[in-house]
Symmetry: C2
Subunit: 244 residues, 2 copies
């Protein structure tokens, strides 16, 4: 990895690229914080801010792409650096998607505002904070080239998936108990799915960091805890609908 | 765009890259066909084939990335070609996600197999065929450098979004009418969302093709018909639960 570059400006460019990614990562972290805050406090203003931030994240991704194209054209980097540059492009794309999901979380908070609160809602910020921690760690892993940290994020995604699958079941049960819970629970289901997908994208970044540093993929099958696509929940017999 | 390359091998490489994308596109189209077939016929074998194809799609994306890195290192392409090469990388990533969504559709077909059939299910293959047509057109637009076709795909995504939003409401109503519909309807909701996301990724490809050919983004705001994140559906008063 430690090839020395003769041209100082080139080194500066590579550093600049890393700073770009950190900046974008920081913005997406802020978006996720806003989304959590919006969920916890049912705060529409914060939700709107989170949605608004998305345009800046998108613009930053475009800036990074333009910067990469210029860097490739001007510096004609060799193999090792090329890997890093392509990695930055991929990470920017993953961050952009995480930002999208955060904005979608915020949008659904607005829909939930005037609906009856359903109890499993409290799991959403808990799950989001888990992914938030993973995102922070994977961005640190990228900046420090810390593969151990990347692997640890990669492993921890299983917890997020498991939490999602259990929340999926719980929300379906809630819907069955009282039809008045259905709209709110459906939004919560999609919010949970959004968070689970954010976790996947953090995991993708972990894989990219690992590949960039070590040149191999993370050993072993990717842990897969989200089995919700196969989940079937039966309504409780007889009494469910009368409860309301 | 039509800069002439002195080295014939370089031209061959650029052609090879385009063939790579077409190959990957064809595979993802096949996956989507399999997913539709699995939904229509409740066919678990076809669903399994669709899920299995995903590994080949992922491997192809990795091949394309490796090929691009080699191409950048060996040929040191200039600005116009660089744009095309970065575009290919982006399109491969969009196709990979479409493949993921197709596999998820197939997985949910397996969960639906033993559940009572709910009527809005018929909208799923209709919606999927719409996206399938958009995917075909945008791949053609890429191969032929046909910006008009790319713009037309971009515009048609609004129909997909609208269909999704209306299906979202319909499925929520179904859930409210009978709790026994809830699990099946939830899977259908996620299936509809998967298809809507596939449509978004086809739209992203359309934008990339347009940018690559013309050097500007598609004019005007991206049409946004998916308002489901803000949707609230109230349960029918009194009689809903007794229907079963």
């Amino acid at each position: 990895m430690a090839s020395e570059h003769i041209i100082k400006a080139y080194d500066e460019d590579l550093k600049r690229l890393k700073t770009f990614i950190s900046e974008m990562g920081g913005l997406v972290e802020a978006q996720l914080d806003q989304a959590v805050q919006a969920v916890v406090n049912r705060d529409v203003d914060v939700a709107q801010r989170c949605i608004a931030t998305d345009a800046r994240v998108d613009a930053l991704e475009q800036d990074i792409e333009n910067f990469v194209v210029r860097l490739l054209a001007l510096r004609q980097p060799m193999a090792g650096d090329l890997r890093n540059i392509v990695a930055a492009l991929k990470i920017a794309s993953e961050l952009e998607r995480i930002g999208d999901y955060a904005a979608n979380l915020a949008k659904r908070t607005i829909a939930l505002k005037d609906l009856p609160q359903v109890q499993p809602a409290s799991a959403i910020p808990r799950m989001a904070r888990m992914v938030r921690a993973n995102l922070k760690d994977v961005l640190d892993a990228y900046v420090d080239g810390d593969t151990a940290k990347a692997v640890s994020v990669w492993k921890r995604d299983e917890e997020v998936d498991e939490m999602y699958t259990s929340l999926f079941r719980e929300l379906l049960t809630y819907m069955m108990e009282d039809p008045r819970n259905i709209t709110a629970s459906t939004h919560l289901l999609f919010m949970a799915k959004n968070i689970e997908r954010m976790g996947d994208h953090a995991t993708n970044i972990a894989e990219t960091v690992h590949f960039q540093e070590v040149g191999t993929t993370i050993k072993g099958e990717r842990p897969k805890g989200d089995t919700s696509a196969f989940t079937v929940v039966a309504p409780p017999r007889g009494e469910s609908a009368e409860k309301r």
